[in-house]
């Protein structure tokens, strides 16, 4: 029997973008509201998992040609480097700093080095989750 997954495929195409948007929203909102790097990364990973469930691995690899091991490595590296950044300014390792500045067209915003740290966390989470899922499913 051929599985008819037309509905799943069509819905996925649309919904993946919604999930991805949600992931990015969660990532940035983490500073002052629920969200953050870990959750953002996980939501992003779940969007990819949905893609993997719907389509096969080849299609997935064709459309998202990343090596997720490297994504995870870059994430971990960013986490380490943000820590080292503070050392360059003579502060203890992993000191985070923040400032409120006026960005043109956007207005007063607070920017913080935590965002980079969280970016590293998010990338590491996405990379590791997808690496694990891909390597298990490719083992068939």
């Amino acid at each position: 029997m051929k599985i008819n997954d037309l509905i799943l495929r069509s819905v996925t195409k649309l919904i993946v973008f919604i999930i991805l948007t949600l992931a990015i929203y969660l990532f940035f909102s983490g500073h002052n509201a629920p969200g953050g790097g870990f959750i953002g990364g996980l939501v992003l990973a779940s969007a990819i998992v949905l893609l993997l469930l719907t389509y096969d691995i080849e299609t997935f690899k064709y459309s998202i040609p990343f090596d997720f091991k490297i994504v995870a490595a870059i994430g971990s590296l960013i986490v380490l480097l943000t820590g080292m950044g503070a050392v360059l300014f003579g502060k203890p390792f992993l000191t985070q700093s923040f400032a409120t500045i006026n960005i043109p067209f956007i207005g007063l915003r607070e920017i913080s080095t935590v965002t980079f740290f969280e970016l590293g966390v998010a990338l590491a989470v996405v990379g590791v989750v997808i690496t694990i899922i891909l390597s298990i499913s490719e083992d068939v």
Partner: protein, 800 residues
């Protein structure tokens, strides 16, 4: 000018650079680039010489972890300067020599990376004042030595030797670490210089002797002292430049450095004196005695190194007597021993370095270093012969070479031992010069073996007659050393005044008398001279009748040697570990879960019971709402149905249901962060479960035996019980004050309103960072576990 900290890190920086600039098809030998490093460092260290000679010392501190008072304090005084000059001076010669020894077909990138790594860490050892930093560099030298011995990792012998040296030296290093920690317990400082002063009233402390023994353990293993000497002969599998550099001139002297450095702390103590001098003497004798048996020239040199290290060690043992309270420090008698030790240390580096390089030349040119296959090379390789002659005669303690001077001083020091009235030395002290003399006879014999069996006599094989002298470049480094051997004999006091004496004052900080007898080659017909003459006469006789008596070596059965002990204990521990592991690693996931759960219940349950921590009260609780009731009841139903279902898919879906319901609980209790995380994690985990489902074998309807089911029931029930009890106790009782007030002002402190994320990303960022790393390692672990099998059958490089 280079600062001292920079000097330590320059080799490290250079070794970092090498992988980037090294290419296999490089036109210029990478060694020329490497050579710059020791040359610069040597010149830098020379510039310190005039001030060090005045008795100055230099300190430079770089704050590393100021909170724990761990700072990179570099400290240079006369003692560390000697070692620094040896490391960089011999280092430069060895690098130069290696340029001709190792050609382009070798993996030069690896070689020089390791070599520079070693150079940096060795400089770190001698220039560090902080014991923990010293320890870190100390272990780094072990690791770089391991890498260098295993440079030709295709050979079984190299891997064996590398592992042996690492196991033994790191074992001793760990002992030394504990010794340092004990010293810290006694004095409260990790600084070696501060310990000098603080230790004086604290010598009766209960940890004093254990610390002493443990630090000596580190020194003895590193300096290949009996019975830890067994790793050094096996380390000779390394390329010859490495043997000349690490395993004769520098690394093996790190232990001697430690003994010299800690003499002001431990000196005058009976245990210290006996341990250092007796071990040194036994090593001196045993090394010399064993060297004669060897037919491989490098193994012979290895044993001779062991023996010479023992000599220096025993001198430091004797020199520690002058710190005994009854001796006034300004008596020359025993301080002269430390002087002799340092003198011989330098001399040994010159003649042993030269000899190693000559043996390397033989190996390189002829392809063997077995004395049974060599002979008659004097005519074909005259320069190598001359260098070997100078080196060996110096080692044997003959004039006109530097070894003669330090050997005479050694005899003098040993003769002085029984003038000491304590430690019952006026009776057994007589043994010291006797053992020293016998060992010197053996030293003389093996020195003669090196020269006569290799270069004199008839060529034993045809190809020896076609041997050609090595190239100029290869001969240059050993020739320089040979010239030094001679120069030091003629002008010993230049070396003594400029380099050795400042170091002696560092060993005895309270020494005021700056009078040392100037070294003289001729000092009349005294006992020392007669001892040397006796060595030559008796040694020649024994050497002539070597074949008659070498049967002695067969008296020691192989299975009683320390090598056998090492091998057997390795096999024993291997087997023990394997047997223990195979007992509980059954390969069944359910067994592993049982271990985890049983341990958990027992530990937590016991703690709960023991501390009387269980408390349960309903006061102050909110009434349970209707939603909560519904959710709780559905979870219970789901839990029960998960047990009785006969399909894995159903079980996974039900498990997912429970997870999502818990997320709903979080929503009810107004914890949006937790709810969000729970939902996403549950989604991803369910997907993973489904994936894993594919690989599981078919569900079998067979039910487990009653006994096992009963057992599982008990485990499951007790886990549930303990968890419930813990949860109830956490809610009801407060053991600790809340820390949440610390985070309340997160907005001012970190500019973020979300406290949870501020804790994760800022206040406790270190935890998060490590968690990310752990996650990354886990991901790579899963990947390699699954993918590693796929690449089996890769080209096998190792021989058996």
């Amino acid at each position: 000018m280079l600062t001292l900290n920079m000097a330590i890190f320059l080799p490290f920086l250079a070794s970092l650079l090498i992988p980037f600039i090294y290419r296999r098809h490089f036109k210029i030998h990478i060694g020329w680039f490497v050579l710059i490093v020791p040359v610069i460092l040597f010149i830098t260290l020379i510039t310190y010489l005039p001030q060090i000679k005045q008795g100055d010392s230099f300190t430079e501190t770089l704050n590393w972890i100021p909170t724990f008072n761990i700072n990179l304090t570099s400290y240079i005084d006369g003692l560390s300067l000697i070692f620094g000059l040896l490391i960089t001076g011999i280092g430069a010669l060895v690098v130069f020599y290696s340029i001709f020894y190792l050609d382009f077909s070798e993996n030069l990138g690896h070689f020089y990376t390791y070599l520079l790594l070693f150079m940096g860490s060795m400089l770190g050892v001698v220039f560090s004042d902080h014991m923990m930093i010293l320890y870190a560099f100390w272990e780094l030298t072990s690791i770089s030595s391991f890498l260098l011995i295993a440079f030709w990792y295709q050979r079984k012998g190299s891997r064996y030797g590398a592992k042996k040296s690492l196991l033994i030296t790191v074992f001793g290093g760990l002992g030394m670490l504990i010794g340092f920690l004990m010293l810290y317990q006694i004095t409260g400082t990790f600084s070696i210089r501060e310990t000098f002063e603080l230790i004086i009233p604290l010598k009766e402390h209960i940890l004093f002797t254990p610390a002493l023994i443990l630090i000596l353990l580190g020194a003895f293993t590193k300096s290949a002292q009996f019975p830890f000497h067994i790793w050094l002969p096996d380390a000779m599998e390394a390329p010859t430049p490495v043997s000349a550099y690490l395993h004769s001139a520098t690394m093996v002297k790190a232990g001697i450095y430690i003994v010299a450095r800690f003499t002001p702390i431990f000196g005058g103590d009976a245990v210290w004196f006996y341990a250092v001098s007796i071990t040194g003497l036994i090593t001196l004798f045993w090394g010399a005695f064993s060297a004669i048996r060897e037919t491989d020239l490098k193994a012979l040199l290895a044993y001779s190194t062991i023996s010479q290290l023992g000599l220096v060690m025993s001198l430091f043992g004797v020199s520690s007597l002058s710190l005994h309270p009854t001796i006034t420090i300004n008596e020359v008698l025993y301080t002269q021993a430390a002087f002799a030790a340092l003198f011989h240390l330098v001399n040994h580096s010159t003649f042993k370095g030269a000899l190693f390089m000559v043996v390397g030349i033989l190996d390189f040119k002829i392809g063997t270093r077995d004395i049974r296959r060599l002979g008659g090379l004097m005519l074909f390789m005259p320069i190598s012969f001359s260098i070997a002659l100078i080196g060996s005669f110096s080692m044997a303690g003959l004039p006109p070479f530097n070894g003669f001077l330090s050997k005479e001083m050694f005899f003098q020091a040993m003769l002085s031992v029984n003038e000491f009235d304590f430690f019952s030395l006026n009776t057994i002290g007589v043994l010291f010069p006797i053992i020293a003399w016998i060992a010197s006879v053996f030293t003389f014999i093996y020195s003669m073996i090196i020269v006569f069996k290799t270069f004199l006599g008839k060529p034993k094989e045809k190809k020896l007659s076609q041997a050609k002298e090595a190239s100029f470049g290869m001969l240059l480094a050993p020739s320089i050393l040979a010239i030094f051997i001679f120069l030091i004999f003629i002008f010993p006091n230049v070396l003594a005044d400029n380099i050795l004496k400042p170091a002696v004052f560092n060993i005895y900080p309270n020494l005021e008398n700056n009078y040392f007898e100037p070294i003289k080659a001729w000092h009349g017909f005294n006992t020392e001279l007669f001892m040397t003459m006796g060595v030559v006469v008796i040694g020649t006789v024994i050497f002539a009748f070597y074949r008659r008596w070498n049967i002695v070596y067969k008296l020691f059965p192989k299975f009683l040697s320390f090598d056998a002990l090492y091998n057997n204990s390795l096999i024993f521990f291997d087997r023990l570990a394997k047997n223990t592991t195979s007992k509980y690693m059954t390969g069944y996931l359910r067994h592993y879960f049982q271990y985890v759960f049983i341990t958990f219940t027992l530990l937590v349950g016991f703690t709960l019971f023991k501390l009387n921590a269980f408390s349960f009260s309903l006061t102050g609780d909110e009434p349970i709402g209707i939603f909560e009731w519904i959710l709780a009841i559905t979870i219970i139903i789901a839990g029960i149905s998960m047990i009785i279902t006969s399909s894995r898919l159903t079980a996974i879906v039900i498990n997912g249901y429970i997870g999502f319901t818990i997320a709903l609980f979080f929503v009810l209790f107004r914890a949006p962060d937790l709810a969000l995380t729970q939902v996403v994690i549950e989604t991803v985990t369910t997907a993973l479960f489904l994936l894993a489902l594919y690989f599981l074998p078919r569900w079998e309807e067979k039910r487990a035996p009653v006994r096992e089911r009963r057992q599982n029931f008990i485990i499951a029930a007790s886990v549930g019980l303990v968890f419930t009890l813990v949860a109830l106790s956490v809610k009801s009782g407060r053991l600790f004050t809340s820390i949440s007030s610390f985070f309340e002002d997160s907005d001012e402190k970190a500019g973020a309103a979300n406290i949870v994320n501020t804790i994760l990303g800022d206040f406790r960022a270190f935890d998060t960072m490590l968690e990310v790393i752990v996650l990354f390692i886990a991901g790579i672990g899963v990947f390699t576990l699954i993918k590693a099998n796929k690449k089996r059958g890769a080209h096998n490089l190792e021989d058996k």
